[in-house]
Amino acid sequence: MHKELRFKYYAKGNWSDWQDPVTDIETAFNKNRLGAPTKLYHVIQNGSHYLWDDYYTYNGDSVITSFGYQTMNYFIPKMYPEIEMDSVQLKLILEGPVDFIGVGEETYKELHFPPKIVIHE
C-alpha cells in the first residue's frame, strides 16, 4: 500500500490547495541515492507511515492526540518556515497496486484528518 501525504494550510484568511511535500526531494532522490535528500525523503515517508498506522490503531478516533498526527502537524510548518501557517490539514492518499495475480484494479483511498492549529513558538 503506497502512502502519499498531502497537506493544506490556512494563512492570511485562506486555505491553500493540497500540496505535496516531497516533489523536489523526490527528484533529488532519483538523481542521487547516496545523498542527504534520500534520507529526508524517507523521513517524510516514515512520518506518513506513522500517521497511517495511528489512524488504524486508534480506529480513526482520538487521532488528534496520536503520535503520528502530532508529529506530522508539527512537521509540515517546520518544512515551510517562510509561510506563517495558522492551521494545517493533512490527508493520506492510499494507493494499492493491481493484485499480484492481475485480477482486480488499483485501489485508491483518501484518509482525511481534522485541521490542527499551528502553535507559533
Partner: protein
Amino acid sequence: MNSLNAVIWHPFSLKEGTESRYLNILRKAIYIFLLYNMVVMALPNASIYWGEDSLMRSWDWEGSLLFKIQYLMMNDWLNNCYIFIIAIHLGALILGLIKGGNRWIHLVIFLTTLWLYGRLYLFVIGGNLLVQMLLFYLIFADESSSNNLQSDINKWVLFACQIQICFVYFFSGLYKLAGEDWVQGKAMYYILLIEEYSHPWIIDYIKDYKWLTVIMTYSALVYQLSFSFLIWIKKFKKALLLLGIVFHLFIGIVMGVWDFALVMIAAYTAFWGPNLKLHQAN
C-alpha cells in the same frame, strides 16, 4: 572435537591475539559507516533534524533511567547543543579510525551515537539499532592488549557481535513468515512498486517479470532464515557473505536505502576470519 573444528568456525578457535585483527576490522567498518551516515546523510540537514527547527519534535517519553539516558537529547537544553555533540562524535570517530582509540574513545562514540540518533525517531532504521548494540559490545574489547584475559574477552565480544547479527537475520526472517505476502512470494512485487523504495525504471519492468520478484522474495526469506545456522559452517561462509553483499547492494542501489545496506555490509566484517584467506592462516 578436531573433526568438528574442521567443519565449524567460531572465534574461540582463533589463536590468541588473532581475534583482535578481526575486531579491529569490524570496529573500523562501523566507524566508517557512522562517518558516512553523519557527514553525508545527516549533516546537510542537521538543523532540520536537531535543533530549534527540528522536524521531529521532542517528546515527553516516560521510562526507566536507562531509557532516559538513551533519549537524553529529547531534552531541549541538550538538543540545542547538537552542533557541539556532533563535533565530539565526529572527532571521536576520526580518532578511533586513525589512532585506534582507547576504551574512552569507544565509549564516547557509543554515547554520542545513542544520543544523536535517539532524537531522530523518523530517521533511524533497524541498522542504526544494530550499530548501537555492536558499539556497546565493542566497548569491552581492546585490540591493543596482549593480555590473555583481554584476549578471551575480545573473543567473547566478537562472538556477541556475531550472535547479534544472527539474531537480526533470524528474527527478521521469522517475522516475515507471519506475513502472507512473504509466504506467498508476493512481497518484493509490492515493495518494488512503492516509489520511495524503488526506482522508476524498475516499476514498469517488474509488472512484466513478476516471476523475478517471486524468486527475490523466497531468496530473501531462505537467506535470512538460514544465515544464523549456515554462517558457522566453513564451506558456506564465503558464499553466504558474498550473497549477502549482493542482497544489500540491491537494497542500496534499487531501493535507495543506502544506510541500511552499508551498515549490514559493515557488520559482515564480524564474520571475516582466517578461512576466508584474507590473511595467512595462523
